[in-house]
């Protein structure tokens, strides 16, 4: 019995940090409507700076002063980030905001390694809380008891701040209606900056307070951000009480889940989250959001199928690409195969994101599931390659069917957070279920059969599949199903009103996108000859997002160009520098801020501008409205 009580208290102690970080995320989202992906990065910087300060200044004052100073320093960094970066993108679609803050996260990951080195750092114990309390023969660290008290205290302070101060009243008002607050003479800029500073302070404090319990390392940002996303999805974005209750719930599930499913305790959390989402899609303490801003839709450029000339041009490009083996060596062909595979991956996400308006932040899950499907079929069942290629992607299809069912209940940022959480869960299973997946060692020796083994043959196979997939998805875009999907994207309410079952349409799109990603993953497994948990990882999901964005969210097939450019750049970059995450992150931020329409979007805009210069094409948009006056 005493053991369970101690386990419960350990869970409560873990909840404190989780609550601090989650409440910070919630507050920031409430006012600025930005889901701050970089929140985990601020948490991590808080821990690193606290480590340095407490290491340098010993004693009680040094420790506690160091913790607070670290949180304040990070809050200051947050202010700079808000003023330099976020102010430029408050009016951008939320997807761009998520991506920009993700770019920051990538940069921070490389920067902390650059500054503090790649090794785990062990922080000092807290002065005054070094010992343990005996509880019927079980030890409870006294620092845990401190954290257990701290959580509710912080909750109380936040409550007072929001209920009893003018600043709190303004923040709550802005959470509901930013424009009206401005229309009453409140300078939103400083309100946003101060809110961001408070949120980041909480995240950094959460990180700093962890150093006596856990080692500080450069992957702690992603670990916490996934947990925080789960917490805010369960508790409800924007609710501080919700963040507290959900943080306790998730921490307890983790603490006791370890006892029940030692390897895959995260499954328990996932099950609870799924139940909450079905019963209350906006979380326990959240409230239904007003319809989210549309993800694409910066312009009103109607899509059209290719003209026959354009089709011939596309065919010509394909023929030229198919002639690559005549001139290129094996390395170039392998790179070419990889690019073709990523074209498949990118167009599958593009279908979900641009056509369906559903920005998945965990699309790699289905890519990776396709890859693992091949590994299971080829290695364990020993099936021939053709059969494997046909059946392997079905694992991606299955995963997309299950997760997609839950995910399409939501939209906007909730959808993004949920898909990310799902992907992370699949990743943890692949990582931890060593007996089946080989864990971190992956599954090796998945080689193609003789007919596809040579680089040129495999290149043709990948190229052919990529072309087929792209054509099939284009046909789907201009099919009745595609029209219905675009209708749900542009207005879920109106499409429901004309008899479209929006959720089923979206679910179908999710499954199509997941299966297609699985096809890419299947080929990837054969290309690499092995499968690793990284094939399902967050960074791969983000690669896909960047490819789509780089090509242009609002184009029909920009993702193809985006994938080619990005992948080629990426492969070249990794061969050139160790700081690829830093460069990549900066690149993402740059795209979002100065290049939001992507490559193909830019080209289309230029073409249109040239078209507008000539008299017949001019005022196409303005004319009907003016003549109506």
């Amino acid at each position: 019995m005493a053991f369970y009580v101690v386990q419960f208290l350990t869970g409560l102690a873990s909840a404190a940090s989780l609550f601090l970080v989650a409440s910070g995320l919630s507050i920031i989202f409430g006012v600025t409507r930005i889901v701050n992906f970089a929140h985990g990065a601020f948490y991590m910087i808080g821990a690193y700076i606290a480590f340095t300060l407490t290491d340098r200044f010993a004693g009680a004052f040094g420790f506690w002063g160091g913790i607070v100073a670290a949180a304040l320093a990070v809050a200051l960094i947050g202010v700079v980030v808000e003023m330099v970066l976020l102010r430029r993108i408050y009016h951008a679609p939320e997807l761009f905001q998520l991506l920009a803050t993700f770019g920051l996260t990538l940069m921070v990951e490389d920067l902390v390694v650059l500054i503090w080195g790649p090794d785990d750092l062990l922080g000092p114990r807290a002065p005054g809380f070094k010992g343990a309390v005996d509880f019927f023969g079980q030890n409870i660290p006294s620092y845990d008891l401190f954290l257990i008290v701290l959580g509710p205290v912080v909750l109380g302070i936040l409550w007072l701040l929001f209920q009893r101060t003018r600043w709190g009243v303004l923040v709550r008002a802005a959470t509901q209606d930013r424009d009206m607050v401005a229309a009453l003479g409140v300078n939103q800029k400083w309100l946003f900056t101060s809110v961001f500073a408070v949120g980041v302070f909480l995240a950094a404090l959460g990180g700093a307070l962890q150093i006596p319990r856990d080692a500080v390392h450069h992957a702690m940002d992603l670990r916490i951000i996934v947990e925080v996303f789960v917490v805010v999805v369960i508790g409800g974005l924007g609710s501080i009480v919700g963040a507290f209750v959900a943080a306790v719930l998730v921490s307890e599930l983790n603490a006791f889940g370890i006892l029940i499913f030692p390897k895959i305790s995260i499954i328990l959390v996932f099950l609870v989250m799924a139940v909450v989402l079905i019963v209350r899609p906006w979380g326990l303490f959240g409230r239904p959001e007003a319809p989210a801003r549309k993800t694409p839709g910066l312009t009103v450029n109607p899509w059209r199928p290719l003209t026959s000339n354009e089709r011939l041009a596309a065919l010509a490009v394909l023929v030229v690409a198919a002639m690559l083996p005549l001139v290129a060596g094996n390395y170039v062909l392998t790179v070419g195969s990889e690019i073709a595979i990523f074209v498949i991956f990118a167009v599958s996400l593009h279908f979900l994101m641009s056509v369906g308006g559903l920005a998945s932040f965990g699309h790699a899950a289905y890519f990776g599931l396709g890859a693992y499907g091949i590994a299971f079929l080829a290695k364990m069942a020993g099936l021939p390659m053709i059969v494997c290629l046909l059946l392997g992607p079905l694992l991606g299809c299955l995963g997309a069917a299950v997760f997609g069912f839950f995910a399409v209940q939501l939209s906007g940022v909730y959808f993004a957070m949920l898909t990310l959480a799902f992907a992370q869960i699949v990743w943890s299973i692949a990582f931890q279920w060593v007996s089946v997946t080989g864990g971190d060692n992956g599954i090796l020796g998945v080689w193609p059969e003789k007919w596809a083994a040579s680089p040129s043959h495999f290149y043709w196979l990948a190229l052919g599949v990529a072309a087929l997939v792209t054509i099939a998805l284009r046909i789907a875009v201009f099919s009745p199903f595609g029209y219905a999907l675009r209708a749900t994207r542009d207005s879920a309410l109106r499409s429901e009103a004309i008899g479209i079952n929006a959720k089923r349409i979206r679910w179908t799109a999710f499954v199509i996108a997941g299966t297609t990603a699985g096809i890419g993953g299947a080929l990837f497994a054969y290309l690499k000859g092995s499968v690793f948990p990284d094939n399902l990882g967050i960074s791969l999901s983000v690669d896909a997002l960047v490819m789509v964005l780089l090509g242009g969210v609002e184009t029909v097939s920009g993702a193809v160009i985006g994938a080619i450019v990005y992948k080629a750049l990426n492969i070249w970059l990794v061969s050139q520098t160790d700081l690829s995450k830093l460069v990549l992150g900066a690149f993402i931020v740059l795209i979002v801020v100065v290049f939001p329409k992507g490559i193909v979007g830019m080209l289309e805009m230029l073409a249109q501008r040239r078209g507008n210069a000539s008299p017949p094409g001019s005022a196409l948009l303005a004319k009907p409205i003016e003549s109506a006056e």
């Binding site: 009243v169 229309a183 003479g185 948009l621 006056e629």
Partner: protein
Amino acid sequence: MKLTVQDLNSHYGPAHILFDIGFEVGDGEVVALLGRNGAGKSTTFRSIVGLVAQRSGRIMFEGKDVSARPTHEIVRSGLGYVPEERRIFTDLTVEENLEVGRQPKRVNAPYWTREKLFALFPNLNEMRNRPGGRMSGGEQQMLTIARTLMGNPSLVLLDEPSEGLSPKIVEQMVDAILTMKKEGVSIVVSEQNLHFARLISDRAYIIERGRICFGGTMAELDARPDIRDAHLSL
């Protein structure tokens, strides 16, 4: 002149909404902006306070061109705005709603305190701690006006204050607006209801399809039944 609007043009995306809008409001004057649904009354107000991003033209308020200023600065200079949809903060209590609107005292404008406003709108006094979401439409309309007055404006843009209110509340609204006028607040009130406008206004402009098509005193408007019938559905 308190407020002079010249050549105001506004767009929502590719759609051109307002065409060369121009009108004037004198010190302490109540001016009605009349027009049908969708004529451009709300867009005119939203453009003046900077809530419509794509706008051009000159907006002179107390001798200064505010057309390039951000919303909060325009409002802080003493130009209050009461939106049509009321936009009460539903989670906040009556007192907290007023707190959001509070701005420092201004030399050239009447100074409103909470108590003064509770005297002006006695209904609000009885529900100081009630959340805005649990109030009737009429009570919300009073709160939204009181909230704007907390900023001590010298001019208020009142967007359709009588819309959807019961005749009894409309009477109270007329009294409140006349009190505001007596205190020295200039008012631009947009209305579809000519009777209501006639009770409070000195002059009127008629807006139709984004263009001003009449401007004059209420007597001049009454002398032109053709204009009235052509542009206002009664």
